[in-house]
Symmetry: C2
Subunit: 179 residues, 2 copies
DNA sequence: TTGTGTTGTTACCGATCGGTAACATTGCTT
DNA sequence: AAGCAATGTTACCGATCGGTAACAACACAA
């Protein structure tokens, strides 16, 4: 808890050093992930530099690069976290309307619309990453494509479950809407 | 038409220079605008450098900077062109269903869905620019905001024209959908 | 021919950014 | 106390990018 002021007690004279803050690796990683989660989403993964990330996370740049191989790896971790929360919300919407696929689909869009109305909403994070990184072979793009494919699969299953005559067409339309 | 090969005829010896191609300013400007229109949309205004633009346009970098003050000015020109075409398409959709506001609204989304299905569709160019440039006071963001406001106004007018009970709410929903 | 204005070419500058080396500092174990 | 592993700090590198100066090459008019 209490930080030992070793340096300060040793050098009582002038030019007091600003007390190094030390963070264990696991904590640093967590703080970095939270900083990235907010900064990458709000200001764009491309626009935000690693310096801004470490400043926001309150850690050192080397602490970042000892936890993550590169900024791309950081972007991957960001996408993984976003993906987890995405499906959490998805399943939460489904859980509100148990055993009725049609209502479940409606619920998904109701919840989505509610989130889209919030002032800090900046659109789908996956689409944003896809917009910011046009290189089609970029590793981040694969994560985005995977999310999109998975989403389509689940929408398609729901469309079938509620007896749509054209489940594929319906899934296509809904996927575009969610994007 | 025929380019005079002055240099080639003068130096018959070795190391033949690759024949400078000269372009008048007006043509250069047009070629630059077309290159920007495609590159900025397909690969993102932030990801595309001026070198890529001049290479695509087939002109020299100085020719670009003699026509446009900066890359931001280029981005502005790009947005102006996109805005013009946006309203052209908007009015074209309206013209398909004269004198019936409800059908006009439907037609807008029908045409939009058709465009969104094309493989080279990369979403709304204004939204993409907004995603790529998170600085809220960036000049390009004002153009985007202006387009959004204008769109809302026209949607609102249409919503009133077709007798919606909640025209503002309807305009909000449709604006989000188009985005 | 000789200017004169326009365009092409090159080479460069300064800033930014991702990433790293090297060392100082700290906490923990023995 | 002494050593060791982990962390913080600084300074730096190389690449990229927007932008510019300076000059060479050209077209055209007088």
């Amino acid at each position: 808890m209490a930080v030992k002021k070793t340096v300060a007690s040793r050098v009582v004279a002038k030019t007091e050093k600003p007390a190094r803050k030390v963070t264990v690796a696991a904590d640093a990683q967590q703080q970095i992930l939270e900083a990235v989660d907010e900064l990458f989403y709000r200001e764009g993964a491309r626009a935000v530099g690693v310096d801004a990330v470490v400043k926001r996370a309150g850690v050192n740049k080397m602490s970042l690069y000892r936890q993550f191989e590169s900024k791309d790896a950081l972007l991957q971790a960001y996408l993984v976290r976003r993906e987890e929360r995405f499906w959490q919300r998805f399943d939460a919407s489904l859980a509100k309307q148990p055993a009725d696929a049609r209502l479940q689909l409606v619920q998904i869009f109701v919840d989505l619309a509610e989130r889209a109305g919030k002032p800090d909403y900046r659109g789908c994070p996956f689409i944003n990453v896809a917009v910011e990184f046009p290189e089609r072979d970029h590793p981040a793009r694969q994560a985005v494509a995977a999310n999109k494919a998975q989403l389509w699969k689940r929408l398609h299953a729901l469309a079938i479950a509620c007896g749509a005559r054209e489940p594929k067409l319906l899934a296509n339309g809904m996927a575009i809407l969610i994007e």
